[in-house]
Amino acid sequence: MKNGAISGRVAAGSLHGFRAGPVILLGVEVNPDLADFIPLGPSVELPFFCGPLDLLLHLIRKNEVSIYDIPILSICDQYHEHVRTMQELDLEVAGEFLWMAAWLLQLKSKMLLPRTETEEGDPREELVERLLAYRRVKELASILHDKDLVRQCIWPAGIIADLDDEDVELDWEEVDLRLLAETYLYVMQRFAAAHPPPIQVIPLRYSVQDKMREIYQRITEDDLVPLTRHLNRRANPEEVVVLIVATLELVRLGAARAEQRLPFAEIYLRRGRRTLDEASFEPPEREDADEF
């Protein structure tokens, strides 16, 4: 009777053991507090499946068919229907669901074809094997789930012995490659923090005033300067930044006008209402200049 007892527990739906808990929409776990506020259109609640095999097992169970004799035609249609609903709900459908959909289609076509003598075995064989293996995993996972719930309520007791030195010690058995790598990265980060690279002072290679002069001269000569094309010729980002600042400064002073007909279209620079003399391009005096 031992077997009977176990099977009774299994058949009683321990495979569904996970379904309780938070509101779970297909593929997305939703915080129960927020579930009411998620606009979903018509209220569709689908159970959560953590993979295509999970979904297939659910369909087999729902249809009350044998795992060893899956009616591929109808299961395939239901599977596709389900994946379609997932897509209609705008839920991200993981690639593995689509891969299984393709496999089922292939099996369906094989089942529809008349069986030839030369063909060996049932085309469903591999699928059955994988479902059986997965069902075992789910069974064990269900046992772990029940244990997890109980074990979460248990606290390790222990007092700190006065004679212990407080150095954190690690169980050598538990030291794995990842901990070793994490420790290495931690040490190197600490080293980098303790030894910051020396600050390099790079002299400015472009001055705003020079660029203002350059653009102003071009506007005066050509009257029309395409800004983006002008900028594109400069590969150095430092120079591009200085050029843009210089352009904005010219527009602010009224020495240039910028025109754009359409969003994202070329920006043209024209002569402004003000004429600048050479003195306007001198760097402004700084009050605190003496301090440096």
Partner: protein, 181 residues
Amino acid sequence: MNSEFLQALIEAVVLTARSPVTPEAVSMATDREIGEREIEEAIAALAASWEEAERGVRLEKAAGGWRCVTPAQFDHYLRTFHGIASRQKLSQAALEVLAIVAHRQPVTLPEINFIRGANSAAVARTLLDRKLIRLAGRKKVVGKPFLYRTTKEFLLHFGLEKAEDLPDPEDLVEAEVIADA
């Protein structure tokens, strides 16, 4: 050393130890004056006496040794006292990956993915972070994928002495097939 003193000593040891206590280590602490067998018996007697009376702690055998834990009925009060709102439950995907690693260890991620029919990389990472699984070298096949094993933390969390103590899923499913027939 009389038996009362030995029991008190064991109590002091398990309550100050940071990981499960083996009778061997206690025996060594007495300079082998007391044998492992005697200590094992004393621990078992202590565990039984704590189980009988209403006590705030009990002794359990897990991960190859004995450790002190609180009974589940105090969880609510302890969480309030320690200010811990709630604990993160393991997701179904995490439980499936754990089940595969526990049952087939050492096992690689591609193998886990194949059995689950779903990508399990993110889940494996979470389990690594929670120290329920660990990396245990690389498999000597093309690409040298990492091998995974369960940890001592896994055994402690699920109250197991060793991973093999989990029921064999083959048995469970076979039983169901017999019932179906």
